[in-house]
């Protein structure tokens, strides 16, 4: 059963060549007799030879493996980013090994240690919500392993980062509501300590300012736990005397909750209150009315981050960038 793997040695013996000649023939490197090369390649194909990555890694001191740590793969956004990574990795002869942190800094750290111990050539990471310590990432860098942050990056660390312009996405969303004639625009924001949530909130505030719409602090509510405390915030909003005529939410799930709740109250969407979400989650298409939302270029983020990482690994680039990608507003019937 154990169909012993054919090695470079087997080829050498059958061809009465030295292993090094075979090795050279297999990669197209240095000067080698075209005829010899032909023979080696032919036999390799015939015997179904496949180079042993492990042995090659050992001598080259590079594994061609890129480690990825992200919060949770079941989130569509990260699944798409990962797909983008795999595409670029594949095209450059790299493999991806990924882990999930489940939003736990501890699990994140242990994943990183594990990946480093397998001798990854580079690390792509989107930090958990609660990660603030840069130490572990610096240690990885000190080992000579390049680190690129994607989507969620730490501020105080010198590394390449690929993120999405949250401020701009939120600005677009609110600007859209304003142009639709809304003037009492509420925002259900995310946790105060999460930078993407803060950025979106600032986009909201700046859009109001630009269009000279006075800010009403009663219209700004924070969900510290995302969805879990969302419903009470929504209810609070509609217990106000001056009810809003539009709601911009930090994500689609909360927007969907809003729509449901408004329906129960008999408030029409978008006639009485317009709703705009964030993420272009699959639910945004199926809810009724279909949700206007902001789509982030997750696939592109994954691709770009990986390309920049590979450039660093292969020393094509040695400086660190911070690339910020734009989002797109997808207008549907909820606004």
């Amino acid at each position: 059963m154990l169909n012993k793997q054919v090695t470079i040695k087997d080829l050498a013996r059958k061809l009465r060549l030295s292993v090094s000649t075979v090795s050279r023939a297999l990669r197209d490197v240095q000067d080698i007799n075209p005829e010899t090369k032909r023979q080696v390649l032919a036999l390799a194909k015939e015997l179904n030879y496949e180079p042993n990555f492990i042995a090659r890694s050992l001598v080259n001191k590079q594994t061609k493996v890129i480690g990825v740590v992200l919060p949770v793969i079941a989130a569509r956004y990260f699944a798409n980013a990962l797909s983008g990574m795999m595409e670029v990795a594949d095209a450059n002869g790299y493999h991806i090994m990924f882990c999930q942190s489940d939003e736990s800094p501890e699990k994140e750290a242990s994943n990183i240690k594990k990946l480093v111990s397998i001798r990854i050539d580079g690390l792509l990471v989107s930090v958990s919500k609660c990660t603030s310590d840069t130490e572990i990432f610096q240690k990885v860098q000190q080992r000579g392993i390049p680190v690129v942050f994607f989507d969620r990056a730490l501020e105080h660390i010198d590394a390449t980062k690929v993120t999405v312009n949250q401020h701009e996405g939120a600005f677009l969303a609110v600007e859209h509501l304003i142009r639709k004639g809304c003037t009492k625009i509420a925002h259900i924001a995310g946790p105060r300590h999460l930078s993407i949530a803060i950025d979106r909130m600032n986009g909201y505030l700046d859009a109001l300012q630009k269009y000279n719409i006075p800010f009403n602090k009663e219209y700004l509510l924070h969900c510290e736990d995302f969805q879990y405390d969302a419903m009470e915030k929504i209810q609070a909003l509609f217990n106000l005397e001056e009810k809003p005529d539009a709601i911009f939410t930090v994500n689609d799930s909360i927007a969907v909750l809003c729509i449901k709740y408004l329906k129960e109250l008999g408030i029409r969407v978008p006639e009485d209150v317009a709703v705009v979400g964030y993420n272009n989650d699959p639910v945004s298409e199926v809810v009724w009315p279909a949700l206007t939302t902001v789509m982030q270029p997750s696939f592109e983020v994954g691709k770009l981050a990986t390309q920049l990482l590979i450039d660093e690994i292969e020393q094509k680039s040695t400086q660190h960038f911070h690339k910020v990608l734009s989002s797109e507003l997808i207008v549907r019937s909820s606004s």
Copy 2:
């Protein structure tokens, strides 16, 4: 910058021991002086020594890497299965390297070749919709690499399989509709060549039979492309003279389409027509009315498949099983 990795050799030199003694001390194996062992372990910790996986793999001829090939990671079902796999792999000292086939048999094959070439110890695979050839999987087995199929398995191959009882899930769904008093139950089925779709259809048929409800062939429609031709099927259904009073669909997206369409026609769900889907997709919770659906134990499938694979890798078990897990009906307001 290149913080050179400390090796077993460094430890040996500093301790004036031979590398083999250090090697033995590091693993707890053979007879070794407890005191020597203590010293080695202490120094290893101090110098932050980490065994080199690559070198170890080369001599042990095992990489502790499990390859996973699945259709698409953006599908919640597979993301959950993968999470289950990572949990079990982690607990047993294995790593997971996964690839997506994007439902293409060609990409599936090239992924498998790639994984085999990095010398995975075992392979977990859920085949693409169009895969029918068993050859490539047999080749993998012949190389001595155990293969376990999960969720979607090929019939004519001798390998361990972990699947979900589609027939039972469908049966439960239809039985539920019958108990609710529905008698004109339609089924929008999936592609005729896809075994999970066939199984669900048979579950539908058998439930009707068991409860002596005559089968009306006008009530059974196939979507060969899943969602893409779903809408016309739904419309066909409601152009019939004898309209159904319930619809059971092969997946949630189609069920959601049904609900939307019924709303447009002014038909009430569930009062006039009940709807039941399949998969417990996130959309099933947010649609209105919330969708009754069948939840598959995807996480469990991943865990079990991985455990059985590891058992095979480690020769704890040599026979092949076919484990079939049960699904659960989740009753919500659409039925």
